[in-house]
């Protein structure tokens, strides 16, 4: 019999409180910091009173910084939650919306739109704002979701679906490469910029679409907390506990696609958050229970994304870094550290 150490756990409410404080601090910092650093006093004036406000600060905060911070929060929450759900359902620690091909679907939509049409149309893409771009990306990811749903109804084997997702991703990047090869320089740049991801292009009007979609995805995930726990034991056990595998899987996929698809549509493909954050939460909370993990990844994902956003703004400087590079540089070391530290990383279940 191996000696084993019982769990040493910090109380869950304490961890949540600490993360909550960190969340508030980063949220405020994200609004204060940027190319122009805004004094704390002005933030409160802008938010809570109409008089004695510097109009420039007010515009920056309400039209740019606040929507961007809210977008960061929703992006982090959505990608992390969809990653958690995929890892649990596929019982694979490297699963995520990317592996399923949902992001690839979004990319295909954008690539077809930006690169595939005539330059006349493409020129209009960025003058009409990000809306058309977002819609085609949304359509693309939704299409893949339907494809995955269809396959998952025909095929019972979860690994087959995973492999199909990988193959689909490869096929899409092949098509995108061809489109890039035949497109002109300005269209190419527009597309490349989108692939780098951006939290700053989301307007208040777009937020009113983004927010309900993300909330709906989160709600679906909460409804499936119990089933997610059952999936950890594998499909056989889940079924023997009375879980209706197919319908449960469809709702979880719907939630995942809604979360990841919406974010990809509005902010571009933002990687590694979906894989890294659930692992960070498992380490911090030392639990497998989704009743804790679901709110935990929502909070932690928001924190990581707010932090990434602050870094990408390079406070005090005029330029910004692409958010996708920042999340990669933050996420990849976490994943490497996980693999090295925990050799049992190869299976979450």
């Amino acid at each position: 019999m191996k000696e084993s150490v019982p769990h040493k756990k910090l109380p869950v409410p304490l961890i949540f409180s600490l993360l909550g404080i960190l969340f508030v601090l980063l949220f405020v910092a994200d609004i204060l910091l940027g190319s122009i650093i805004i004094p704390v006093k002005e933030v409160f004036h802008s938010l809570f009173s109409t008089s004695e406000t510097n109009e420039t600060y007010r515009t920056i905060i309400l039209s740019f910084r606040l929507p961007k911070a809210l977008t960061a929060i929703m992006t982090g929450a959505a990608l992390s939650l969809s990653g958690l759900q995929m890892q649990t359902v596929f019982r694979n620690p490297l699963a995520g919306p990317y592996v399923l091909g949902i992001s690839a679907g979004a990319s295909l939509g954008v690539a077809l739109f930006v690169l595939g049409f005539s330059s006349v149309l493409a020129a209009g893409v960025f003058t009409t704002g990000a809306w058309p771009l977002a819609l085609v990306a949304w359509a693309g990811s939704f299409l893949v979701m339907l494809l995955v749903l269809f396959v998952s109804m025909k095929v019972n084997d979860i690994m087959t679906i995973l492999i199909l997702g990988i193959l689909f991703t490869s096929a899409v990047s092949a098509i995108v490469s061809i489109l890039q090869y035949f497109s002109n320089e300005s269209m190419l740049k527009a597309f490349i910029v989108w692939t780098m991801g951006s939290l700053g292009n989301v307007t208040k009007a777009q937020l009113s679409v983004l927010a309900p979609a993300i909330l709906a995805g989160i709600l679906l995930a909460f409804l499936k907390i119990k089933d997610l726990n059952a999936f950890l034991l594998g499909e056989n056990y889940a079924r023997s506990l009375g879980v209706s595998i197919k319908s449960s899987r469809i709702i979880i996929f719907l939630s995942t696609s809604l979360l990841a698809g919406t974010i990809t549509a509005f902010c571009g493909p933002i990687g590694f958050i979906g894989i890294a954050v659930p692992h960070i939460c498992r380490v911090i909370f030392k639990t497998a229970n989704h009743l804790i993990l679901v709110p935990a990844v929502i909070l932690t994902g928001s924190i990581v994304m707010l932090f990434s956003d602050i870094v990408s703004q390079l406070p005090g400087m005029q330029t910004t870094l692409p958010i996708n590079s920042v999340t990669a540089l933050i996420g990849i070391p976490v994943i490497i550290w996980m693999i090295v530290k925990n050799k049992k990383f190869v299976s979450v279940s």
Binding site: M1, K2, S4, V5, P6, H7, L223, I225, K226, N229, A230, L232, L233, G234, N236, Y237, R239, S240, L241, G242, V243, S244, R282, F285, K286, T287, A288, N289, L291, N342, K344, S347, V348, S349
Partner: protein
């Protein structure tokens, strides 16, 4: 639930699975098996005969081709998966490896069919879980991570999970695979107690035939040439155990109640002695492929004493201090 009699009946059942390409492959056909509450049943058969498929079908995981599965008179097809979860629990061969999952949390999965939409455990649920953990002898292990306990302990935890599910029927696919001998016996004994005392129907598949013959109430035997159900002793008397393997080299010794490997005999040995030394000397010679003879002419004669073994042959006589030395000498000179 226990006021109902959860009799299980497999009537002319044919099971199998869809092959890639859509061709159905029938593996077991015309099965007529049954089990009643308080019975412990072992499904035995050679590798690949379809034991797992039959158990998975019985648990409602996959459809069957023809025939019927009746549970207290109702067709399994007409029972919803939520209701099945309150009638049958399942323990598979799958090794559950979930990081950060404690033994208590694993066993608590058994309460899944009874908890609310978010899976909150009531005080009653918690006491059922504690009781199940106590029943399998894992008290004190509640907070251990399941990744860090031994295979035997994990198998007990999985059985505790099935117990916590509080179903009249428990189905276990090879619950004693990967376990050492003492753990095999303990798991069988534990299941026997559960069947007897809690009047549960326990259906398991196993390759530990020697233990199964001693512990179970009923055998379900699946072979290429037909299926049989009955008390282990009836199965022996009717010669079913000899038909278990297609292999010509393995046979069942009805006198010993054990399986043996048929070997070419090297030499004829007559053994004299009594008690344990005689028994184990016979076993040793048997293992090495010597034919044991009583009165007939022999190549060697061995006298087994308490601490010495005397070997007589036509040419010489020798004495050894252990069975090992005796065998070594025989191997060299035979």
């Amino acid at each position: 639930m226990s006021e109902n009699n959860f009799n299980i009946e497999l009537q002319q059942l044919s099971v199998g699975y869809e092959q890639p390409g859509g061709n159905p492959l029938e593996i077991l056909k015309a099965i007529n098996f049954s089990a009643t509450p308080g019975e412990m049943v072992a499904l035995i058969g050679s590798n690949g005969i379809g034991k797992s498929t039959l158990l998975r079908t019985l648990a409602g995981f996959q459809p069957w081709f023809s025939g019927n599965i009746q549970i207290s008179g109702r067709n399994l097809k007409n029972i919803s998966s939520k209701e099945v979860a309150r009638i049958m629990s399942f323990v598979s061969t799958e090794n559950v490896r979930v990081p950060n999952l404690s033994v208590f949390d694993l066993v608590a999965y058994g309460r899944f069919p009874y908890t609310n939409w978010i899976g909150m455990l009531s005080e009653q649920d918690k006491s059922v879980v504690d009781e199940a953990i106590k029943n399998v002898g894992l008290r004190g292990f509640e907070n251990r991570p399941v990744m860090q306990i031994s295979d035997g302990e994990r198998q007990r935890a999985m059985i505790a999970r099935a117990l916590a599910q509080d179903t009249p029927v428990i189905i276990l696919d090879e619950p004693t695979a990967y376990l050492d001998v003492s753990n095999k016996y303990e798991i069988f004994h534990l299941l026997q107690v559960l069947a007897n005392e809690k009047k549960k129907t326990i259906i398991l598949s196993t390759h530990d035939l020697n233990i199964a013959l001693r512990e179970v109430d009923k055998l379900w035997i699946a072979t290429d040439s037909g299926n049989y159900q009955g008390a282990p002793e009836d199965a022996v008397l009717q010669g079913w155990l000899n038909q278990l393997f297609k292999n010509d080299h393995v046979g069942f010794d009805a006198n010993e109640g054990e399986f043996f490997f048929k070997k070419e005999f090297k030499a004829k040995v007559k053994v004299e002695g009594e008690g344990l030394p005689l028994t184990w000397t016979l076993r040793a010679l048997n293992r090495k492929g010597y034919q044991i003879v009583m009165q007939a002419e022999h190549d060697y004669r061995v006298v087994a004493n308490e601490n010495s073994w005397e070997l007589n042959s036509k040419s010489n006589q020798k004495t050894f201090g252990s069975v090992y030395q005796l065998l070594t000498f025989l191997e060299k000179h035979c």
